[in-house]
């Protein structure tokens, strides 16, 4: 049974906390599993919960009948954003900004990561968690940093849970993986309700209020870029980021899928994604692929680049390069 607890907690990245200020709290995850234990009396009490099914996310009729984001009129979007702000205020006691900034014409976002510079410090992982209001318990982390032995790029032999005193280590290199924002995205194709799609600026997004939680997209993604909220997300109030986007980092709820959005709440306002900003060695580059003068365009021209799993024809807009 204790083994099972580990299984449920760790795949959310529990062990990945290495060398960071973020609290590692396996106890909290264990407690959650304990809560999930089976007891007959609890079952009977829980039956009453069935009637609360419609109010699963403490929602109003407006929320229940909310349409798919792409079908909403401007007016409906404004009403929805106002409702969400009120809802978040009531729930977290904070004033949220929930934006819905659209794509900018002539923009196609792309990412380039210098695997020669990356030192495997995982600062991007934690900056991402804080920026994007990811659940701390159960843990969700959009970025996985894989450690490979020199001379090897076999995923099966990579290590996600490396835990040395200092990085980088001699004899290893690091490969961070997150949503690759594929042009030919397998995840959006399989969604039975079009709750996830590729925006005109190339960002793959999820309408959290439309997702039915079937997890087909998670099965379809070759990069493990999608995460499921197995329980109500827990985030300390003081760590909440209140500057949010409807399709991005606004607070989520249980039983829906979420993912990296290139920090849509930032990049559509001309800022860099949090992972780019925090990287201490400048291994992460971001910009407009359609602008020949942008840094990513320059890297694609001047450097040797590769993409993960090209054979699957997913056409990622996430490039790895050799910068030195």
């Amino acid at each position: 049974m204790s083994r099972r607890k580990d299984d449920a907690a760790s795949p959310s990245g529990n062990d990945q906390q290495t060398g960071s200020g973020t609290a590692d709290d396996p106890k909290a995850a264990g407690g959650l599993e304990k809560k999930a234990g089976v007891s007959r009396r609890r079952f009977l009490a829980g039956t009453a919960g069935l009637f609360g099914m419609i109010t699963v996310s403490s929602c109003s009729w407006d929320e229940f009948f909310q349409q798919n984001f792409r079908r909403m009129t401007r007016e409906e979007i404004d009403q929805t954003l106002a409702r969400l702000q009120a809802q978040y205020k009531a729930k977290y006691g904070k004033d949220f900004v929930v934006g819905a900034e659209g794509p900018i014409d002539g923009t196609l976002f792309g990412y380039a990561l210098d695997i020669q510079r990356c030192i495997g410090c995982r600062r991007c992982v934690y900056a991402c968690v804080e920026e994007n209001n990811q659940s701390r318990d159960p843990q969700i982390q959009y970025i996985r940093v894989l450690r490979f032995r020199d001379g090897n790029m076999d995923f099966e032999e990579s290590d996600l849970y490396y835990d040395p005193d200092r990085v980088p280590q001699e004899g290893y290199y690091y490969l961070p993986v997150q949503c690759q924002h594929c042009e030919n995205a397998p995840c959006t194709k399989v969604c039975p309700v079009q709750a996830t799609w590729k925006e005109p600026d190339g960002i793959v997004v999820v309408d959290y209020n439309w997702c039915i939680g079937c997890r087909y997209c998670m099965a379809a993604c070759p990069y493990m870029g999608r995460w499921f909220n197995w329980a109500d997300p827990v985030i300390p109030a003081e760590e909440l980021n209140t500057r949010t986007h409807y399709l991005g980092n606004r607070p989520r709820f249980r039983n829906i899928v979420e993912k990296c959005t290139f920090c849509i709440q930032r990049v559509r306002k001309g800022r860099y994604p949090a992972c780019v900003e925090v990287c201490p060695v400048g291994a992460r580059k971001f910009g407009n692929l359609l602008d020949p003068a942008s840094e990513v365009s320059r890297i694609l021209r001047d450097k040797r680049v590769f993409r993960l799993k090209e054979e699957l024809n997913t056409q990622p807009k996430f490039y790895y390069f050799f910068g030195l």
Partner: protein, 406 residues
């Protein structure tokens, strides 16, 4: 008038019966309600109460879903020839097959719903009001074909039985097109279900063209085996008569289907073992364990042994035509295929994960209780349907003798 009389006497039949009937129904109700209670816990807490993880996001529910789609498809495919070539005396057998299909389909829909994170958003799947992502989502297609198949399997026997209740001959030119339609439809439900997994390039274990043919072959083993057992139970407890020859013919079909299934498995083994690429890893994990993880190994080896032994029993006429050995083989084949087309198909698809990690899965108590509850619900539905249709078939339940007990 006729309708309300039919409903009233049908309802009366459902609540009357011998003591074993009450015990059986009572047992199923208890298991089903326990499952419902477990499910309510899942709804109010989240899917964290299951054993599912980001690494293995589908498990016991989707495994059972896949197995039962096969049962539903085979139950009809097997008996379709009976309709076409001999509309008269064999149709009794056919109708029970369709009742089995309906019960299996109800379980299919319940398992998919149980697996959904947000069942309150089911309406998002309704075209127009919501969005059904056709033609691109195979899950969307599956919803279409499963519901269409459910309609056909309710409509066809419903029509025939109502005519029998009224003691009239069915209008063949009206009903035969529907019966013909249900043949390709039965194939389609299992093919589309296979395509759900088959289409995912991220999961090499599923991304092989052999998947859909193997689905059909294995469905022709488990579904008919279930039917052989069900007919024996029915003819023991009711006046309903089924000839031994009919059951032996079904057993012969299972034998061919299992031969094809094993051949296709061999083809799969050859391709993966000989080419020895990374695509071999899921198969290795399943049959032999990978990186020291081997939760599924005893299961799949049991399945393989059961399937092989059952195949031999079905192959040799002496054991095939002996009810003792035949029934053992049927049970073995049902368990074997349930493992192979259930957890043995779904879980290794996710192991190793696309980024190489090996995280195992085992179902949680909540998942197991919900699963048992859904099976109990399916059996309850099947019992109820049989309680009404068997007396109609045997002529005990008509608009004239409507209230006499079966």
């Amino acid at each position: 008038m006729v309708k309300s009389a039919f409903l009233a006497s049908a309802a009366k039949r459902l609540v009357t019966g011998p003591r074993t009937y009450y015990l059986w129904v009572g047992l199923l109700l208890v298991v089903a309600l326990t499952g419902l209670a477990a499910y309510s816990r899942q709804v109010t807490t989240g899917l964290v109460v299951t054993g599912l993880t980001s690494y293995v996001p589908w498990g016991l529910y989707i495994g059972n879903f896949t197995f039962l789609v096969g049962v539903a498809a085979a139950a009809v495919l097997l008996i379709i020839p009976a309709y076409i070539y001999d509309f008269g005396p064999i149709k009794e057998i056919v109708i029970i097959g369709e009742a089995l299909a309906v019960s299996a389909l109800i379980m299919v829909l319940l398992f998919v719903t149980a697996d959904m994170g947000r069942p309150d958003r089911l309406w998002h799947l309704v075209p127009g009001w919501g969005i059904l992502n056709l033609p691109s989502s195979l899950l969307g297609w599956d919803i279409v074909v499963v519901n269409g198949y459910l309609f056909l399997n309710l409509f066809i026997p419903g029509y025939l039985l109502y005519k029998a209740y009224q003691m009239k001959e069915p209008n063949k030119s009206f009903i035969i097109p529907f019966i013909l339609l249900s043949i390709p439809w039965a194939v389609s439900i299992h093919t589309v279900t296979a395509f759900i997994y088959n289409g995912l390039a991220s999961r090499p274990f599923w991304n092989a063209s052999i998947l859909a043919p193997r689905f059909l072959a294995s469905a022709f083993c488990s579904g008919p085996a279930l039917i052989i057992l069900v007919y024996q139970i029915i003819r023991k407890y009711t006046k309903f008569h089924v000839k031994d020859e009919a059951l032996f013919t079904i057993a012969e079909i299972i034998c061919y289907a299992m031969a094809i299934n094993l051949f296709l498995l061999g083809a799969e083994f050859f391709k993966e073992l000989y080419s020895d690429t990374h695509h071999l890893s899921p198969l290795k994990y399943l049959y032999n364990g990978l990186h020291g993880k081997h939760a599924l190994v005893p299961w799949i080896r049991t399945a393989l042994c059961f399937n092989l032994i059952a195949f031999l029993i079905f192959l040799v006429p002496a054991t095939r035509k002996n009810f003792k050995t035949l029934n053992i083989a049927c049970v073995m084949i049902i368990i074997g295929i349930w493992i192979e087309k259930g957890m043995g198909l779904i879980v290794p698809g996710f192991i190793p994960a696309p980024l190489g990690e090996v995280w195992e899965y085992s179902p949680s108590p909540v998942e197991i209780l919900v699963t048992l509850g859904i099976w109990a619900t399916g059996m309850l539905v099947f019992t109820m349907i049989l309680k009404i249709i068997i007396p109609i078939e045997t002529g005990d339940f008509t608009k004239e003798g409507g209230t006499s007990s079966a």
